[in-house]
């Protein structure tokens, strides 16, 4: 395989992205939900998606679920390959292996979860590094960038088209339902107190919802210019961390996408 020859700036950008992915994967391991943590899964559930079907038809996830050693080996391979990419150099074979393994991991994790949360940054952002030719790589970077712009913008658009934005009670009702397990458990943490406050103060919650719709819709500007990418990255940071604080949806898996928007403009120039 032809190995890529990169500029110093591109190497730094790549190292930054792979460092975030490494940190994210270490968090998966630490949380006990990495390949090894998914050992002996007794039930999985996914929808109509050719990527999931391909892996499951080949019985790869089933094999990993039933062999703890396999999960452990794959975790170690991913960590070693990520460390190689961060601390040593770029290698095409390793990058391809990482892309396939991390996509397989996303498939296994979300099949276990039974629903998808679209936190795909930790493997989608590897796609541009699969290409050696600088022009192809540039197009791949642009493709990934437009993918995420569309992803966030369409999410904001859905909230307008489905009338969510015209429903002041929607967010507090969502929190009320989302936090039922916390109430049943009598979880007395600060997050429960915050949610009780937000459920009670409907208009503050509605304001937060409107701000999130504005942030998501603001991504439309990315279709026309890269000038605002830094701001988009910063807004994404606020959006995801507020989601984490309020709704307990941590952006682990999507942190690399935040870094991408913060740094891509400098690199692409």
């Amino acid at each position: 395989m032809k190995e890529p020859t990169n500029s110093k700036q591109e190497n730094n950008f790549r190292r930054g992205l792979f460092s975030i992915i490494l940190i994210e994967f270490l968090i998966f391991v630490f949380y006990g939900v990495s390949f090894q943590g998914l050992h002996h899964i007794a039930y999985f559930n996914f929808g109509i998606d050719p990527i999931y079907w391909l892996f499951f038809l080949l019985q790869i996830p089933q094999f990993i679920f039933s062999h703890r050693e396999m999960g452990l080996i794959l975790d170690m391979i991913i960590l070693l390959f990520l460390m190689y990419s961060v601390f040593i150099k770029e290698n095409k074979l390793i990058t391809w292996s990482l892309f396939i393994l991390l996509m397989l991991y996303y498939v296994c994790l979300t099949a276990t979860l039974g629903h998808r949360n679209y936190q795909t940054g930790f493997f989608l952002l590897i796609i541009p590094f699969l290409f050696t030719n600088p022009l192809n790589r540039k197009f791949a970077f642009e493709g990934v960038r437009y993918f995420y712009i569309f992803f966030y913008f369409s999410s904001g658009l859905f909230k307008i088209m489905n009338n969510g934005i015209f429903e002041p009670m929607l967010m507090s009702s969502t929190l009320k339902v989302q936090f039922i397990p916390y109430f049943i458990e009598t979880n007395l943490s600060w997050r429960t107190s915050l949610n009780l406050f937000l459920i009670k103060h409907t208009y503050i919650t509605y304001l937060l919802y409107c701000v999130s719709v504005f942030i998501e819709s603001f991504f439309a500007i990315g279709f026309f210019t890269k000038k605002w990418d830094y701001l988009l990255g910063f807004l994404l940071l606020i959006f995801h961390f507020t989601n984490w604080i309020v709704m307990d949806i941590a952006p682990i898996g999507q942190l690399s996408a935040i870094l991408f928007f913060l740094k891509y403009k400098d690199f692409s120039n």
């Binding site: 009702s173 039922i180 397990p181 682990i252």
Partner: protein, 141 residues
């Protein structure tokens, strides 16, 4: 689909249903708590009982199995697809044991494990537990 984002979460108008369902696994009659776990683990521990209850309530089939059944009419062909894409017949005891271990608990001899559905009444100013019943239960021998 992974490469076709369709993220319409939290975008729809409220469904004015007064009842919501919530699922917990009980080990020796104590609910296994999950809300203090970090995000991904919490999400799996929260969603897995919901999906498994759905599986049991649908006559031991998940939604994909129902979809495949509606599309493929040849039985041998259907078996091939179902055997690869769905978890087939899972004993509730296997799932319950997995859940307890995944949550970091140990199972001892004669421990009872059950999957319980809670029905919550959502009122404007409060929520009230209306009913709860056991969906499946096992005793570890």
């Amino acid at each position: 689909m992974i490469f076709l984002p369709y993220n319409d979460m939290f975008s729809s108008k409220i469904q004015h249903s007064k009842f919501k369902k919530c699922y917990f696994v009980k080990l020796n009659n104590d609910r296994i708590k999950f809300t203090d776990f970090p995000y991904w683990k919490k999400d799996i521990l929260e969603q897995a009982p919901l999906k498994f209850a759905d599986y049991i309530n649908n006559n031991n089939q998940n939604q994909l199995a129902i979809f495949l059944k509606s599309k493929i009419h040849d039985s041998s062909n259907l078996f091939f697809w179902k055997s690869r894409l769905t978890p087939l017949q899972k004993k509730p005891s296997d799932w319950l044991s997995w859940y307890v271990r995944f949550s970091g608990n140990k199972i001892n001899k004669n421990d009872s494990i059950s999957l319980v559905e809670y029905q919550i009444s959502i009122e404007p100013d409060f929520q009230m537990l209306k009913d709860s019943f056991t969906i499946c239960k096992t005793i570890n021998n």
